[in-house]
């Protein structure tokens, strides 16, 4: 049996709300890859409705009505096939933006995934390593806790920072820079963490990091439907609240969305949560961050799903890029609320790496089409995901995080002084 008590009555109603207009299939970046009706949101809602109707409906098989109507039960294989299709989704929220009847799709998919986990069908085998790693190592990349802050040594070695960021658990600070697992551990993405520290130090922000005590925000578990997320969220909320900080900032769109929006359902936060792009824009507006020298670049901005569609932050990164002299910002065909997902989130990259690769390639091609030389984003996860597309296409495009661009602009200004 598929357990459905973790769904709300509204979510079960939403399965009937779908008018099957197919607008979601026009925009869904996953459906765009293999054109299977069962992976598009419309098909997914229909399949799930059939499964739960056959198990809980008034006319389900085995009841008097069911016998009269000759209803057949769903098979184990059908449920497993459905589960597979359910996880073939990056939870990018494009379907919500497209849906004319405003079905809160991602909440629905995540609840369905929780149902599948509760019933022993999810997550997929290839995704289990992520979940186990988060539970065992507090990060999804199977890396030891002790090396979480290794990037700080690199930053010192490369003279990107004058001193190591302070350990906020030992010395109080107003701002907690929550690095996130990807920027902490991925050697190709460490520049994001280093750039963040560089900027914060340059602008004399009283900040600190958790270092080896930092734990995964649990986003990956939440997206895959794992209840362990709640425990992680509770522990993190307590740890953050006890720090007495005023602001938590993160460069990771996934961590930001999870802490800002999803944690609020688990507990109360006694500080404000900002994405680094919002924080930097504040600094620019306060004239604490100024760019004087030109940085000649034609860039395009990729909206991370968790920052854009999930959180509504579209303008801050663009305003930052516009504030840097010399930068020419060009928009891709699909941008802002219709930005094409790179496929890195929602467990899709772990579950369906080929699909993610194709999605990233499409996005990179969109960036190439507008003649950009740099594709900028504001999320280490997108950084990682798009890099896959760049490599697969052998594209001349350079992938950069917005904080790297800001760092470059600051360094350039310093050179000119």
């Amino acid at each position: 049996m598929v357990k459905i008590d973790n769904l709300s009555p509204r979510q079960i109603m939403e399965l009937d709300v779908c008018t099957r207009c197919g607008e979601c299939s026009v925009w869904c970046p996953v459906y765009d890859q293999d054109k299977r009706e069962t992976v598009n949101p419309r098909g997914r809602a229909r399949q799930f409705k059939q499964i739960i109707k056959s198990q809980y409906g008034l006319f389900r098989p085995g009841t008097v009505w069911g016998k009269m109507l000759k209803r057949k039960p769903v098979t184990e294989e059908e449920i497993r096939t459905f589960t597979n299709d359910l996880y073939e989704c990056s939870t990018c929220r494009q379907c919500y933006v497209a849906c004319p009847v405003q079905i809160d799709t991602v909440e629905l998919w995540e609840s369905m995934r929780r149902s599948m986990v509760d019933s022993g069908y999810g997550p997929l085998e290839q995704q289990k390593a992520l979940a186990i790693s988060v539970k065992s190592y507090d990060n999804p990349w199977q890396q030891p806790r002790s090396s979480r802050a290794r990037w700080t040594k690199l930053a010192l070695k490369d003279r990107k920072v004058a001193k190591e960021p302070k350990d906020i658990t030992k010395t109080k600070a107003d701002v907690l820079y929550y690095v996130g697992c990807t920027a902490s551990y991925d050697v190709n993405v460490k520049e994001v963490a280093i750039s963040d520290a560089h900027i914060l130090e340059r602008v004399n922000i009283d900040y600190g990091i958790l270092g080896p005590k930092e734990k995964c925000c649990g986003s990956v578990l939440l997206r895959m439907g794992d209840h362990e997320y709640e425990r992680i969220a509770q522990e993190n909320i307590k740890m953050f609240n006890d720090l007495g900080i005023k602001t938590l900032i993160s460069s990771c769109a996934g961590c930001f969305k999870t802490i800002k929006q999803d944690y609020a359902r688990v507990g109360t936060l006694n500080f404000e949560v900002k994405h680094m792009a919002e924080f930097l824009l504040d600094l620019i507006q306060e004239e604490r961050l100024q760019f004087k020298k030109e940085l000649k670049m034609k860039v395009t901005y990729h909206d991370p799903c968790h920052l854009g569609r999930h959180s509504g932050v579209y303008d801050a990164p663009r305003e930052i890029l516009k504030a840097i002299p010399g930068i020419e910002l060009v928009e891709m065909d699909r941008s802002r609320e219709n930005s094409r997902c790179c496929g890195a989130g929602g467990g899709l990259k772990a579950g369906f790496p080929d699909i993610q690769n194709q999605m990233a390639q499409k996005r990179v091609q969109e960036a190439e089409a507008v003649g950009a030389s740099v594709i900028v984003s504001a999320c280490p996860f997108c950084y990682q995901g798009l890099q896959i597309g760049i490599q697969a296409l052998n594209s001349p495009l350079k992938m950069m995080d917005i904080t790297e661009i800001v760092t470059m602009a600051l360094d350039k200004a310093e050179e000119g002084q």
Binding site: D5, Q11, I12, V17, I52, A98, V101, A264
Partner: protein
């Protein structure tokens, strides 16, 4: 007595059966819904946001308009046409069964040639026309242009064909009625039914046409209508009820989410 039709007892029996089956269907949907135990809303209701959504996104369906003017026109034609005819039928049913025939309102709407009656003649044709246009666009998209985003299954097409057939038979009934009566300038208010009767007379021999009994045509029209009502809770047409609810709830939640975000 309706405006042009005396209901028979068999129709009342059929109506009762239909209502019972309709309610069973509604119960089955609610029964399944209530298997969900989690909280439906994260935030409190926001009546202001919901009222705005009712006007903008339910009544005028702005989001659909932003996506495609053709789809918007198709859906709004069916939506408003359906609502218009539902109001028409409800009014007729009320005066036929509950209002005193001597009341001024009943006289206004039911006396032949009265302003109210002519208004109803116009009203019926007007909204019926919209349904026909909307359904025709839907049929064109599914069968002629074969719009890629559509996944045509029986449950989808049945709903469209049912609506189309009910409306088309409604106009046919009206045309057949006009065939049996001498011409009158008042018929201009039935601006589709009356010309259709002339068209029928032009192509079908008058005797064959006059052999068509009005009450029999109405019966076909009513049976199709009854089947539609019965079909609603068991089909995608259930969205008529639940989609507006979702739009309002979502708008309330999104509004609260935005407010929480800004804090």
């Amino acid at each position: 007595m309706y405006m042009y039709y005396e209901a028979q007892w068999s129709l009342y029996v059929l109506t009762v059966i239909t209502v019972v089956i309709f309610l069973i269907g509604v119960y089955a949907n609610v029964y399944l819904m209530l298997k969900g135990k989690a909280r439906s809303l994260t935030y409190k209701f926001n009546p202001g946001a919901m009222l705005k959504a009712l006007i903008v996104n339910v009544i005028f369906q702005r989001k659909l308009l932003e996506q495609s003017s053709l789809r918007w026109f198709m859906h709004i034609s069916i939506f408003w046409g359906f609502m218009g005819l539902l109001a028409h039928t409800t009014l007729l049913a009320y005066f036929a069964h509950f209002a005193s025939p001597d009341s001024p309102a009943a006289k206004f709407f039911f006396t032949p040639g009265s302003g109210g009656r002519l208004f109803l003649d116009f009203w019926g044709d007007f909204w019926g026309m919209f349904i026909l246009v909307g359904c025709s666009i839907a049929i064109y998209r599914r069968y002629v242009s074969k719009t890629q985003q559509l996944d045509t299954i029986l449950a989808d097409t049945l709903a469209v064909w049912l609506l189309f057939s009910i409306t088309a038979t409604g106009f046919f009934c009206e045309a057949v009625r006009f065939v049996h009566v001498p011409p009158s300038p008042e018929y201009a208010y039935s601006f589709l039914g009356y010309p259709l009767s002339k068209l029928l007379l032009a192509f079908i021999p008058p005797n064959s046409l006059k052999a068509l009994k009005y009450t029999e045509q109405v019966r076909t029209h009513l049976i199709l209508g009854i089947f539609l009502i019965l079909y609603i809770p068991f089909s995608k047409m259930w969205h008529i009820f639940v989609s507006p609810i979702e739009v309002l709830l979502d708008e309330s939640e999104e509004h609260a989410r935005r407010v929480a975000y800004e804090q």
